[in-house]
Structures are given as C-alpha cells and as structure tokens.
Symmetry: C2
Subunit: 497 residues, 2 copies
Amino acid sequence: MARTNDFESFLIKNGFIWGPEPEIYGGLAGFYTYGPLGTLLKRNVENTIRNEFKVQDFFEIESPFIAPKEVWEGSGHLLGFVDKVVICKKCKRSFRIDKLAEEKGISVKELLKRIKENKVKCPNCNGALGSKVESFNLMIKTEVGGREAFNRPETATMTYLPFKRYYDFFRKKLPIKVFQIGRAYRNEISPRQNVLRGREFTQAEGQIFITKELEYSERFKSKLKEFKSVKGVFWPAEFQEKAQKEKLMNYQEVSKYTEKPAYVYYLFLTYKLFERLGFPQDKLRIRQHKDDERAHYAVDAWDFEVKTSLGWIECCGVHDRGDYDLKRHSKYSNENLVILDENGNNVHPQILEIAFGVDRPIYCLLDIFYKVETVNGESRAVLKLPKQLTPIKLAVFPLVKKDGIAELANKIYQTLKKAKLEVYYDEVASIGRRYRRVDEKGIPFVITIDYQTKEDQTVTLRDKDSMKQIRIKISDIEKTVNELISGALKFSQINKH
Amino acid sequence: MARTNDFESFLIKNGFIWGPEPEIYGGLAGFYTYGPLGTLLKRNVENTIRNEFKVQDFFEIESPFIAPKEVWEGSGHLLGFVDKVVICKKCKRSFRIDKLAEEKGISVKELLKRIKENKVKCPNCNGALGSKVESFNLMIKTEVGGREAFNRPETATMTYLPFKRYYDFFRKKLPIKVFQIGRAYRNEISPRQNVLRGREFTQAEGQIFITKELEYSERFKSKLKEFKSVKGVFWPAEFQEKAQKEKLMNYQEVSKYTEKPAYVYYLFLTYKLFERLGFPQDKLRIRQHKDDERAHYAVDAWDFEVKTSLGWIECCGVHDRGDYDLKRHSKYSNENLVILDENGNNVHPQILEIAFGVDRPIYCLLDIFYKVETVNGESRAVLKLPKQLTPIKLAVFPLVKKDGIAELANKIYQTLKKAKLEVYYDEVASIGRRYRRVDEKGIPFVITIDYQTKEDQTVTLRDKDSMKQIRIKISDIEKTVNELISGALKFSQINKH
C-alpha cells in the first residue's frame, strides 16, 4: 500500500521531506532531508516530547552515535539485530522471509517448504531461491582508529552505558530518569514508505532506572490517580489471542493486563504525550505484544499505533526491560553496574523505557491532517495540523506592493519575527493564490495589510480552518495570535475593531 | 598543553562531559557523552545560534549523516580530506608529519630529510619510520545497501546538495539562507583535548547562496551600518605576514582587507553572535587565513579564535567559497545547479558560509568561566557562565526537611518547573554544602524556604556571583528570576520585602 503521488508531491513542494537523498546523485534508499517546514515541524515535535520529559524530571543526555563492537556484543545486537532472509541463487538479492510469507499470505514454515520445492521464485529475477535461511545483521558497520565499530541501532544502549555516572550525579537516588533525542541506524534490506522505514532515523527515548520495590510502590499507585479521567483504546495480548477487539480503557482496567503500577504510569504518561501531539483518540491504539513477539529483553511491551492511510503504524513502544540491560553490560564490560536496593542488596536496576520514533509521528501527523477539500466548487489543499505544532504560525501579506503598503507589511513582519513568532512574508501573486499557498503549508493565520491599515492601524486576520476574517489592531497581533495558538482564545471570541 | 585534572574532574562530577565513551568498555578516543548539565548547556548554545540565524531569515534543514562515495568525490573530500603521515616500519602506527615537525621544532622538509637519515625515530616504539609520505583519509567509511558510503565529514556538503529544492521553495529569490545543526565525523589519528578535537562533533553551519552582484550591492553596504558601533579584534593576513599584531577594528577598517560588503556583513553578524554567547572581547580574535593556508575551495576565510588556558582555539570559520561547490556538484552529479542571474545568464551561485562548531565554544566557555576563588580564606569553585547560557537557572532549597518546610519547597519547585524555568531541587546536607554544589554547577540563583516563609510567604533569594541575599515574595519568584536572567533587572535593584 502506498500513499498517493499527490501526498508525496505535497511533502516535496512545501519543503517538508525530500528524498531519497542525495537526490542529485541518484538517491540512496532510506535517507531523507527535512526541508525548511519539515525541520520546523520536527523541532516542534521533539520539543513537545522534550518538555513533557523535563516536567517529569527526566534529564536529557547526548551520547556518541558510534560505538565499538564490544558494546553491541553486550547489548545483544551483534547476534540478535538480524533479519532472516533467503538469497536468490541467480541475482544474489536477499529477501526477508517474514515479508515474503506475508506477501504470499502463507506462514513462514509453508514458505520455506515451497521454496524447497522450487514453487516460490525470486520476486526480482524469477530465479531459484536458496532454501537456507541466513541472518542479515541490520547494523551499519564501520571502523574507527583501527577498531571495529557500528553506527548505533538505537539510542537506548548508549543511554545505559554511563549508568554509574548518573548514579553519582543523582546521588544514588532512584528512580533515575534520563532521555536522549538523536539519530539511529538500521541497514534495512528494503527501505520503503518514505521516512516510515528509513535507514537513518531520529529516536526520542526515555529511560527509567528503578527498583522492583519502587515499581510496585504505593507512590506509583497514588501517582496513577493523575490519570483518573484519561481513557485510551488499549488492546491486551489476551484480547488479540481470542480475536477480541481493542477497547476504551482507563488505568484501572489496563492494570488487569499488566501488573506494575510504575509501568502503567508510564504507559499513561505516554498516552498523554500522544494527546499533546494532537493525535485524535480514534486514530490511536495501544497494543500489547503477545508472548511470541516480545523482544528477548522484554518482560512486557505495549506499542502505540497510529491509524493512517497506510494502515496502523507503530510510533512508540513502552517496554519493561527488567534487569536485562545492566546485567548484560556488567557481564560484558566487567564493570559491576549495580545499586544498593531498599533491603541492602546489590542488584541490577530494572529499566522501564519509553521508545519514541520522531519521524514516524511526523509522517503520521502529516498523513492525518492533510486534506483536499472542496470549497465553493473549487478544490483546496489544506494542512490542518494542531496549531501548536504548525511550522509557521502567521503569514504577513501586503494587499499590494505599491503606496508604501509592502514597506508597512515588512515592518510588521520584522517586529513579529523579533518577538520569536514563527512568521512568513509573502507579497507575490494575488491574495487568493497566496491564501492557497499558506493553506497547504498549514499556516493557521494570515494578516493582510491594506489601505485601511495606514488610516486606522488595523489589519485583517484570517483563520485558515474557517476561512473567516476579522480586523484587529496592529498592536494586538502578537498577543492575539499567541493566544489563538495556545488555545487560550478562540477565533470566534476575538473582539472586533 | 593540557588543562589541570581539577578542571577535567569538575566536568565529570557536575555532569558536563563524560568520556572517552564508552567508558565502561575502555573508551574509544574522541567520543564523549554530554551529561545532564552538559546537554542543557549544549541546547542553550545551539538555540542561541539557531535564533540568531532565524532572525536573519535563515531556514533550518536536516539532512542525512551518511552519503554515498559519489558525493565525496564531488565535494573533494575523497582526495582532499587527508592527513599526511609517515608509518613506523616496526609498530605500524601512523604519525602526522605536520605535528611531528611541530614537536621537533623543525620544518616538514627538514623532518622528512631527518627521517630518511634515520635520525628521527618512531615516538611510540623507537623503531624506524618509513620515509614515504602517505595520505590518511579522515572520513569514517561504511557500506549501506551494498554501496560504499561515509559518515559525513561536515554538514556543509549535505546542505548544498538539495539546492534546486531550495531554489523552488524560495521561489528563485536570492540570497537563499539555510542552516543545519548536526553531527559530523573525522577519523582523527590522535584525538585529544577532550571535545576540542573529537572524532564525532556537532556543527552549526549557515550557508548563504548569493550572486556576485548581490555580494557587492548597495543593499549590503547599507546593511553594514547596523554594525556601526561594533568593534572586534581582527588580524588580517597582511598583518600576520609582517609580524604585526591583531587590532581593534570596525567594519570600515576590516573592509580594507576583504572586499565584498556581503562577506563583511556576515563576519560582523558572526561577531555579534559570539558576543551573544558571552565571549568577552579580550578573549576573541578574528584571524584571516594567509594565502598558503586557505582551503582549496576558499576565496577568503577568517577564523574566530578564542583564548583559553590551552591557547587560542578556533571555534568558527566564515568562508567565501566562491562558486566552487555548486560547480563541482553540477559536474559530478550531472545536474545543472545554476540560477538565472541579474543579467539573464545561467551561473552557479556563490556561497558564503558561517561554519560554527558547537563543542568547541562549549568547552571554551567552561574553560573561561570556571574559577576557583578564595572567599573568607576558603576555596570556592564557581562557574560564572553568562546567565542566559546557564544549564539551570534556579535552585530551590528547604532550610530543613521537617515541619512541612520540604513539602512547601517542593510545591514551589513543581510550580516553577511547570512555568518552564530550568529549576533544581536539593534538600540534602547543610545549606553551605548545598551552596557549594550549585556554585560549581553555575546555577546563578537559589531560593531558600524557611520558617518565615510559612508566616509571610517570602523566601530568600541568593545571587551566586555576589553571594548576597534578599527576601522576595513567593509570587514574585518567577518574574524576578526571569528578569535577572534576561538582564532586564539587576540583583542590586530588587525591591526588598
């Protein structure tokens, strides 16, 4: 399934996402550039996640993107971060057996049987497929200072390694909460669907180092009450096994399917974050991993999935990793990464993880909020992103260029820009064409400077969604627009001048 | 020359910079983790640069960190991004000939002569050095999807490649101004001096695509007047050749040594940015490259150098790259990256570049503003960073934990945190010890909640630098601290309550 060309050209034309890059050199599948509007949107998404983490006392850190082989032996990626593939004997291409089986609508077992019988051929050249299942490691390999190294496949491992530094810095008080926003790499065999499955992507992962006692403590039971009015669509593993549908649940109901109060707390915290990013309740479901799909390190795992025109897309996972990570790294590094628990024992801390992708939520938001409407018999392409996330908040138009109107508009534009409002100036073409441009870019408000402005110091303010207009004073622009963006003011409530 | 152990342990203990990482696996030279305070400081430095670029109508973009070989053939890095080395015949180590010559206090020519005569031995094993000069490429190599590729050695090249996308997006109107903040890689033979010469680092590079006509235009001549009251210490190539010292100059004087008004404009814009980052005038000099040290692509180049305890450190370069880049990439990619100039000719645009490192300014700021003072006969370690850059703005202390004081302090802390003030809570140890902790972390203000707070809703506010204290109302904390940080209010001007 692919989105329409229309959507892809909307992304390109409006400076959201370009690629595969480097385009002028033919492109390398799975690599993209965020253009001017894409980058502003990305910053807004990242900062929304960042602020939410910070309010919850998470501290941000930044670690290297490259680490030597030993780290990935310790983390388990060297052996475990693989796709299972079969290779064409003729063209030598690799094919993931899970994807091939899915395409044929059969089980992996059945696929392998048919390959052996030579009934399934190479999708590329129709040659015979090898029947031996090979492991294809997805890490991007390199060498630094003569040592074998890899571009990190996730931020998580890199965040775990300095645990002893955190333990000192936070003066041995758990839970210790850190997060990291940055690139990670995955040498996908077949990158596809734009940034949804790229080879280079941005993650925003929060890690909570905690003890078992704290996970079950009264403190978290009581903190859960913060979410007493929150409901989301959850889909426990048990339901999936019984072919039962997902269901709207509160934290008490979810607690029946996963037991640690601290874990449920971070599930709901993540849910709130998705709300803050503007995902509607009916586009979001939280699906628990079944026993046979959980990663080797996971005690429990729920994925946040978003409904798009490409189907359900996983955008975030909340994982109970138990004490897997620090136990493994203690063993492989010979550094004992333990803490003194409440009972005076040396134990490896438990880790709870909120593992956000950044690119996927961005793509899903654009997919959900890009609409082509019919207005007065004409087609209007419009991006209806939540106002706080829009790359640009306000456009400034002079009605005409002459008679000092453009100069006045430019002066207002400069003042607003210095006030740190994301603002955009356009004086080219008719007002109608300029409105169409800003609609597509998702700019929620436009002010137009006209002849009346020179007389009474007012401008027209236009609302993208309703297309209504009202005149306001120049001196009120900044305050009015900021209040409209934050939601403190509705367009219909603005006082006329 | 190395900084004292005292400084390195200050960086580690206070969560600024840890490494070489991964420490628990023995460390890989040239890779570091920014800890909680280091990352907050890095965000502040990046956002200061980002905001300055944005006010000047630069748009941010984000491109891949990896690109295939063809790109680096086009950019010239495959051939030109090399260190010249000799290799020890015995231990096989490589040594940079420029560094080796510098250490011996002789010229490279003399060094090579002495190596041939076997008079200079391997600094590592004392074996014989090979006399053949080899080229060691500094790019970090990898392979993606079967194609040879490299981790980018700079952001600049990646910013140039989508030029045609910008040209469309900005509707063919020059100058086009974009910037990118992100990682770059350099496989240093001998990484050293902490993050000053790491193998992985962050750059913040602004690129201006412009025509020659615009570079010399009245528009830039007139814009230069914005800087009429700005003076900095400049060091033209001519002065260096005549062994003449650097000199305080304004833009008119600097214009005698480099001719394009647009280029001088961006030199002074960069100077203002260094001022905004808090670098004192006497720690900063802008040094022009001499003819024999300019990179192959550069028409002119001035480096911003900062005086530290390790000597002068280059933190930023402003480069006139002529039309080198887009001409080369047109040739190598077979895409004609041209514009229509004022005279109707197809030409490759000129590029002016502001090439900031992020790690170096951070390290230099810490070096400059970390002091060990003697106060009342006792030693006090204090970080006197400019207030807007400090990772944390305010610490909240309860005088004691009992009698509801800690609960009240915590409540105030939570309120301030939600108001997006960077705030820090500490209730452990005596007030004196807690003050010492915040002094070292560069936290400019502390409020202490005590018994009087319960009676009259006031707290003490302490200024790190003067160590003076004053009582203010709880309801005034947020406003007062924000005004003290922005500089709108001085501590001595606060009204007593």
